[in-house]
């Protein structure tokens, strides 16, 4: 009996074996072209940003850009130090994360430990609404509702300030964190939680003593993802945080983020070749790079989580 022949006859047709390109059906070619769009997009982004960025750096030295404390692209004497924009962005990132992470974790714990099944069915999707609201709307709410309220308690709050914008970005991110935490919590095998309760622990002891430890990597990933989102947030901060590059320790002041500068500069329709046009790409470069690093970090942490949970 020739086993080899039988094996060959029983193999599925070549097209079904998913061979990489041996089989040039029209469909596979068309689909591969489609798939290359994603590659094109990344390459285009990388090329465009890096080429313009290097042009920019030739005009404005790297030292001035990366370490300068003054960002004044429009009026003389011009200066292109990124630090004020970076500081503004960091305010948004810090405020939104300080708000969203603790509250999000608490909500995740509530959904897991105290929320009844029926209530959870409508509560969790309802909170998702916060994430679905477009960012322009949040910017509007920040300027017209949050800031006036803040002014009543803290009169020195400026009309455009980092705090309202940061808070509102925090609202946006909140459901992402709570969902991530809750989804991670229910992935913990039931018997681990039961083991903790069987020792006579209260829910808070189980949560802080055992569960948080089990989902640690996922929480880190959630934090990093929220940092990344806040870093790249555009419309809400453009409307609410101001257009005033400001290296300050006071979140009640007006600031400008990297993203809102990009919007401002491109609305002015600076022609190609001008320094302002290049500065858009320089800012984009910083933005792209930082979010890239943060996202990659988050992915690694999520992978670590998968390994951790499977051991339990």
């Amino acid at each position: 009996m020739n086993v080899k022949t039988i094996a060959v006859e029983q193999r599925p047709p070549r097209s079904a074996r998913g061979l990489l390109f041996r089989n040039f059906t029209l469909t596979s070619v068309v689909l591969s072209l489609f798939a290359s769009v994603g590659v094109f997009a990344t390459c285009a982004i990388l090329y465009i940003i890096s080429s313009e960025f290097s042009v920019f750096l030739q005009h404005v030295g790297a030292a001035e850009f990366f370490f300068g404390t003054r960002w004044e692209p429009f009026m003389e004497p011009r200066s292109f130090g990124i630090l004020p924009l970076l500081a503004g962005t960091m305010w948004i990132v810090v405020i939104s994360t300080i708000f969203a992470v603790p509250v999000g974790v608490m909500i995740g714990a509530y959904l897991h430990h105290f929320c009844g099944r029926k209530r959870g069915l409508w509560l969790k999707p309802s909170l998702e609404i916060l994430a679905a609201i477009p960012t322009v709307v949040y910017g509007f709410v920040a300027v017209t509702l949050i800031t006036p309220v803040m002014k009543r308690w803290l009169p020195e709050t400026e009309i455009f300030n980092a705090l309202s914008a940061g808070l509102v970005v925090g609202f946006m991110i909140l459901p992402t964190i709570s969902t991530l935490v809750h989804d991670a919590l229910i992935e913990i095998p039931k018997r681990v939680r039961e083991g903790a309760f069987a020792l006579g622990a209260y829910p808070n002891e189980v949560f802080f003593g055992v569960e948080i430890r089990a989902i640690r990597a996922r929480i880190f990933a959630a934090v990093i993802l929220s940092l990344s989102r806040a870093f790249g947030e555009t419309m809400a901060v453009t409307l609410a945080a101001g257009a005033h590059p400001n290296l300050t320790w006071n979140p009640l002041e007006s600031i400008q983020t990297i993203t809102s500068y990009i919007v401002q500069a491109s609305m002015g329709d600076a022609p190609h070749g001008t320094i302002i046009n290049s500065s858009i790409y320089a800012a984009s470069g910083v933005l792209f790079f930082v979010t890239l690093v943060l996202n990659l970090l988050a992915f690694t942490w999520i992978k670590r989580q998968k390994i951790g949970i499977s051991q339990l």
Binding site: T27, I133, F140, N204, M235
Partner: protein, 284 residues
Amino acid sequence: MISLRHRRAQLFRFLTWSAAIFGLLLIIAIFGYLIQQGIPHLDRAFFENYASRVPHKAGIKAALAGTLYIMGLTMLLAVPIGVGTAIFFEEYLRPSKLKNLLELNIANLAGVPSIIFGVLGLSFFVRFLGWERSLVSGSMTLAILLLPVIVIATRSALTEVPRTIKESAYALGATKEQMIWSHLIPNALPGICSGIIMALGRAIGESAPLIMVGALSFVAYTPESVWDSFTVLPVQIFNWASRPQPEFQAVAASAILVLLALVIAFTAITTLIRQKFAKKKANY
């Protein structure tokens, strides 16, 4: 006698409950405020007028038309490319370093801030290709932005199709292409649709990339061809909200209500499809 331990447990319970309530109150407060601000101006004229320097004459006709056109064009581009890419990954690519790289690429693009796509659109479509500030530039830019979302949603829909369905097609002698069209796609359709509608819901609210690609804010006509300039609802809102006069803020609020209605509609449809799909899966 209530111990410290018990008190701490009670505090935890209270804090977590308050956090959840706070989230709910937030939603209620935001919507309540927006409805209160926006309802007065929501009349027929609002939908039939174009933007205007005079607040009470301002309307969203151009913005609404622009939104609809952009959505349509973008979906026309993004859906085939997105679904096609997902099918290519799932069915045609063998597990390899290349595949990992491509998947990482898509996952990365999903996390890139939307304004970067605006920069891409500005440089490539508007300037390099010379398409200027037109519907095509805008929809192409948005299509690239939505691509990762659709790819990821489609892939998860594809992987949820039970293997037995694919194998039964092959067992009858079908080619891969036949299997995809007659078995894979129809069975993954609910998941794919919900992903598309979810992408739509997100796209409707996108303003940053469109601003960069030139969704002008003072457009007093509805677009006639794909090369016309345009504006969309969120950009119009941005423009009105940036003006200092409170009357314009009120108009912005009304436009926001329309935008929210659209977003909520799409989100609701997505959830409904997901629920129905989950029920159907239980039959396997």
